[in-house]
């Protein structure tokens, strides 16, 4: 009897351990609206304090607090979110990216629909109708804008002033300024072979042929088409001409701009946060301008535009609280806090932007002065983007290989569009 009891005790202990390990989250009453603190998972670890500020405000205004859970490594973050779809450990809210990646998770049926929320927000003037298409799949909306940014040229004001250079209005002026700076031993433009390796490809293509850029995104044009080849040749000429900073430098781009080693860099307007974190003052130490078109007389300037989504899951722990939070998120009080603390523009047109140059860009974009192009990172389908980032990185080391690199990207594009 004693032995049997011992065996039984051990087996029960083992089984309870296994059950505890496998049990995971308890199946809470989904959609009850009782949660008073939500966790917002994000891949923007450096924005932690800004998220926390908004969390405090939401606690005051709608009685729901928010704690950010920040990741800094995108692949780890992405794997976690995808894994959460199959487990009970689901985020209340999470950030993602628009374009092909959002489409992928929407198609899997995991993302909560926000069509009603958009209808109300557009009617109230909190979100613009133009932005809606970025969040629309099969006529329904998913997620809300976490942030929006325009991709512009940031520059060091002191470097410009000391060398008699002014923000350009034409491509010729931009290159003339770059020549002046180059002559003084300053690298005109920032360049990197990691992650943002696509930026100059994007800029040169939207500045030359925005239609071709859009067609590439939809698979209607090929990366080996003459227009794209011409862009790569121009980019190669600029690299060969010494216009770029070293793409292999690990120095923070904001530091490069601050020290004046590099005079200019193309970034989303969110780069304001990086510059101010370096102790630089907008309008005083640095400025920004919309990059002129490469081909003169090709109409309006095209500005690359990005919008990152804030999403919740169809099976979120408390769908009512998550939806309530997203409704509040797009409204003016939340957006004033969120956009202005980071020094960026807001998806809500009612938000007043204190920085005059940023406000001017946002107003011009809102008034239709520019054509907007979806940022390459979101515009390109995920497998094509992965191949392109590799290819652009390899191209920077060996600019003569541009044709081979374009062929590599096209191979990935052919593979992707084959079954569609």
């Amino acid at each position: 009897m004693f032995v049997r009891a011992r065996v039984l005790t051990a087996l029960v202990a083992a089984a309870s351990l296994v059950l505890t390990a496998c049990g995971g989250g308890d199946d809470k009453d989904s959609g009850s609206g009782t949660k008073t603190e939500l966790k917002l998972y994000n891949d923007k670890g450096a924005w932690g304090p800004y998220f926390e500020d908004v969390g405090k405000l939401s606690q005051e205004q709608i009685g729901i607090g928010m704690k950010p859970v920040g990741y800094t490594d995108e692949p780890t973050y992405s794997a976690f979110i995808k894994a959460s779809f199959r487990t009970n450990n689901k985020p209340d809210l999470f950030t993602w990216s628009t374009g092909g990646r959002l489409e992928e998770i929407v198609e899997s049926g995991q993302v909560a629909e926000t069509t009603d929320l958009w209808k109300e927000a557009v009617a109230a003037g909190d979100l613009s109708k133009e932005l809606e298409s970025t969040y629309t799949y099969d006529g329904k909306q998913y997620c809300v804008p976490l942030n929006i940014s325009y991709w512009v040229m940031f520059y060091n004001k002191k470097v410009f002033d000391d060398n008699g250079v002014k923000p350009p209005t034409t491509w010729a002026e931009l290159m003339a300024s770059a020549d002046t700076l180059k002559g003084k031993g300053i690298k005109p433009f920032y360049h990197t072979s990691v992650l943002f390796s696509f930026v100059w490809f994007q800029q040169l293509l939207i500045g030359t042929d925005p239609e071709l850029y859009n067609k590439l995104a939809t698979g209607e044009a090929k990366y080996t088409d003459p227009g794209v080849v011409a862009v790569m040749e121009r980019w190669k000429q600029m690299i060969d001409g010494g216009y770029f900073s070293d793409p292999g430098s690990k120095e923070d781009p904001a530091v490069q701009l601050k020290t004046g080693k590099t005079a200019m860099g193309i970034f989303g307007t969110w780069f304001n946060t990086s510059m101010t974190q370096q102790g630089m003052k907008p309008g005083q130490d640095y400025g920004m301008f919309v990059i002129p078109t490469v081909t003169p007389g090709s109409g309006k300037n095209t500005v690359a535009f990005e919008s990152g989504p804030l999403c919740s899951l169809a099976k979120a722990p408390d769908t009512a609280s998550s939806t309530k939070y997203m409704k509040w998120w797009v409204q003016q009080p939340a957006q004033e806090k969120w956009a202005n603390s980071r020094g960026d523009v807001s998806a809500n047109p009612k938000v007043t932007i204190p920085d005059p140059s940023l406000a001017a860009i946002a107003k011009a974009a809102g008034d239709g002065e520019y054509s907007l192009a979806n940022r390459y990172f979101e515009a390109a389908p995920a497998p094509v983007l992965t191949a392109a980032l590799d290819a652009f990185g390899a191209f920077m080391v060996d600019p003569g290989s541009y044709m081979k690199q374009l062929e590599n990207i096209q191979k990935a594009a052919d593979e992707y569009w084959k079954g569609r």
Binding site: R6, V7, A13, Q110, P247, A382
Partner: protein, 313 residues
């Protein structure tokens, strides 16, 4: 021989500690199984299950969202046809050769030169300290030294040596070679430590006999010390071999396998395909190839060493 008499036997008068003397316990195996099962289940769940799951995934196409689709050996065929794999395998081989030979040889040299001399500990210290760093820390520090326009370029330029304009982390094969140098900087210390233990465990008699026979310097090392160190060398080289085949952290931190995948190792390729590209099936297939290669190489090496030892004895 007195082996039989020397075998310890339990005296019938001395009961086993905590047991009931002279009684067999028919439930003992079940009891052991019961108490051992939590641990066994842990091993099963945390080690065997993920491994088997990876094996299954390697035969599927899986994006992490929809259900895995069975594709047979397509992932493996793709692996052998993928041009990026050629680069990855070549880089892994460079790592295997570089990190098996250089840090081991340097470790042995430092151990030999500093062993048994006054102040040896102090002389060894600089070689040992880097081992305290994590792989990621090592990558960050050497990343700053070797980045384009970094400290390495500055020093070479100041000394008027070639390489001042070399982009060490961008150009192939310099990026892989540079990372092997960084790895050597860290790993030499631990190999020194291993060889010191080996040197301390060598009995004095054969050394004194060899010295009386007139063996010194290289001859003493070649014919006496080296053969006596052989068991330890087998372990050190074996560990270095396995470590080199699974090189990941330093490459991921320093170059992320780039630019353009030109510094990827098999472990980096596995991570990139699975987690960056989101192709979990293909990434699992790369993991399988890496596991099988590491297993086969290690087994072949150890078998050969055992055979050499048997031939010698």
């Amino acid at each position: 021989m007195s082996v039989a008499t020397a075998t310890p036997t339990r005296s019938p008068a001395a009961p086993a500690a905590g047991g009931r003397a002279g009684q067999s316990d028919p439930g003992a195996p079940w009891g052991a199984l019961g108490f051992g099962s939590p641990g066994a289940l842990g091993v099963l769940l945390l080690l065997y299950a993920p491994f088997l799951y990876t094996v299954v995934l390697s035969f599927t196409e899986y994006d992490g969202l929809t259900s895995p689709q069975w594709v047979g050996i397509d992932n493996f065929t793709r692996f052998f046809e993928d041009p990026a794999m050629g680069t990855s395998v070549r880089n892994t081989l460079m790592w295997v050769v570089g990190t098996t030979l250089v840090p081991v040889a340097l470790g042995l040299l430092v151990a030999l030169l500093s062993f048994g001399i006054r102040g040896g500990t102090l002389l060894r210290l600089p070689f040992m300290l880097p081992y305290a760093l994590s792989g990621a820390g090592l990558g960050v520090i050497w990343g700053f030294i070797l980045q384009s326009g970094g400290a390495a370029n500055d020093i070479l330029g100041a000394l008027g040596l070639p390489g001042a304009d070399t982009s060490f982390l961008l150009e192939q094969p310099w990026n892989t070679i540079s990372m092997i140098v960084a790895w050597t900087w860290q790993q030499t210390g631990v190999n020194t430590l291993f060889f010191l233990v080996g040197l301390q465990s060598i009995p004095k008699e054969p050394l004194e006999a060899a010295r009386l026979d007139g063996a010194t310097g290289w001859k003493l090392f070649r014919h006496v010390i080296w053969p006596l160190l052989a068991p330890l060398t087998t372990v050190v080289v074996g560990l270095a071999l396995v470590a080199s085949l699974k090189t990941f952290d330093i490459v991921w931190v320093m170059t992320q396998g780039g630019p353009g995948r030109n510094s990827e190792t098999l472990a980096v390729t596995m991570y990139r395909d699975a987690f960056v590209a989101g192709e979990y099936g293909y990434g699992s297939a790369v993991a399988m190839v890496l596991t099988l290669t590491t297993g086969a190489v290690t087994l072949a090496y150890l078998r050969r060493q055992v055979k050499v030892r048997e031939d010698l004895s």
